[in-house]
Symmetry: C2
Subunit: 272 residues, 2 copies
Amino acid sequence: MQHIAYFISDGTGITAESLGHSLLSRFSGVHVDQITLPYINTIERATQATQRINDSADSMGTPPLVVISIVDGNLREILRQSKGVILDMFDAFLDPMEKLFGQTADYSAGTAFGMAHTNYHQRIQAVNYVLENDDGGNTKNYATADIILVGLSRSGKTPTCLYLGMHFGIRAANYPFTEDDLDESALPKSLQPFRDKLFGLLIAPERLASIREERYANSRYASLKQCEFETRQFKARLERYKLPYLNSTHLSIEELSTRIMDNVGIERRVNG
Amino acid sequence: MQHIAYFISDGTGITAESLGHSLLSRFSGVHVDQITLPYINTIERATQATQRINDSADSMGTPPLVVISIVDGNLREILRQSKGVILDMFDAFLDPMEKLFGQTADYSAGTAFGMAHTNYHQRIQAVNYVLENDDGGNTKNYATADIILVGLSRSGKTPTCLYLGMHFGIRAANYPFTEDDLDESALPKSLQPFRDKLFGLLIAPERLASIREERYANSRYASLKQCEFETRQFKARLERYKLPYLNSTHLSIEELSTRIMDNVGIERRVNG
């Protein structure tokens, strides 16, 4: 049977969505269409959302799942009257928190990301650092890096660095291992003073070839043979230099970023 | 009184953290140190986490708040024996979901971000698009953009575009309004065919000056007078061209990105 889930929030919708994804991942066999409705912060918008939920219930013949992250009690009440099965985040958890903190929760407006404001600056600076130190273009700034990702061309270094900067305020540089670097037996000169900051990203040759193929079709660079050669050489280098590394082939950007931090034991500078 | 909160997960910790932030934002007067413990996926790690919770409880004289996103029942049971006040995500919500879907939840391993794998490729492509079309460097690709952010130099266009690409798979380009553009009465030529994709980012002159000052201290470019002039002119242009825009001064990257999507009505291509 086909199901539908709504993630409804008075803010960005990111928390409701994230919670909803986690919960739905426990029902792998169930097919669920997922719709996020952010900024449901007026009676009019809440009424429209309720109508949409009810229309879905009628057309699908089954109640939609509705994950709610809304502070205002009146708006929540409107949604609660819908035909959906309501999972209300605040309803479920604020009670024990009120007891613990000895004060009642504040039901006025303002979203979770208000907390991120104080970190905004640090995150932007980290993103700028990543952009300026991407792809080995600027090795002179390695001294101020928190981490330096090393990997083959197109192995996912840049998106991972950007995620580390944007979400955790980490200054992440990256260095692409070229064929020349793979020919040398020593660690590239510009990396030698920063051994402790290096972290390798490995990727399966088949996946690397398919990513490269998209960019430079039918090139030697994108050939499976070349990718197999580079991957094998690079892995041998990582092991010889005794660098920590992860295989990125089957990991999402989130998983890769958080595992790297967990592996090297860097603290999150901010929580984005 | 000083409190402490642990966000504990068998995966990245992103969901537990996001949920915890949302809940804590309702208690603005309470000071809470926040610690994320990701990849708590073995009995050993769960036992260590429990010990850490208990140490906090003893040293602070109050139970820590513990938000848990862990699938395995044995690991959850270990944490439940701690001295923390436990908010268990799965415990709270899986029951109504099991009833709705008519099947029991799957308690085997695998994280929420498994769902993101199918989108990985699209997100990486969007991030690459953003990097290649940053800062007006490559106006020839505007035809394939989902959105083109316009704003003054250092007004937050790039991080916002990166967020849109990384999390929603949106191809976001950006174009910096220079003084020359502000002198012209017409919309810059390279933007004219793409009016419908344009979205303005406005920023308070004081904030702009402080951001620019960091980069080019004591320059005319960073002076408050110059920033006031550019901001005033740019706002007048946005209104003359009748472009939608947001003031980014007090918004987080998440809020800015999701509000832009909400304003222009683009659908999230993926849910990162």
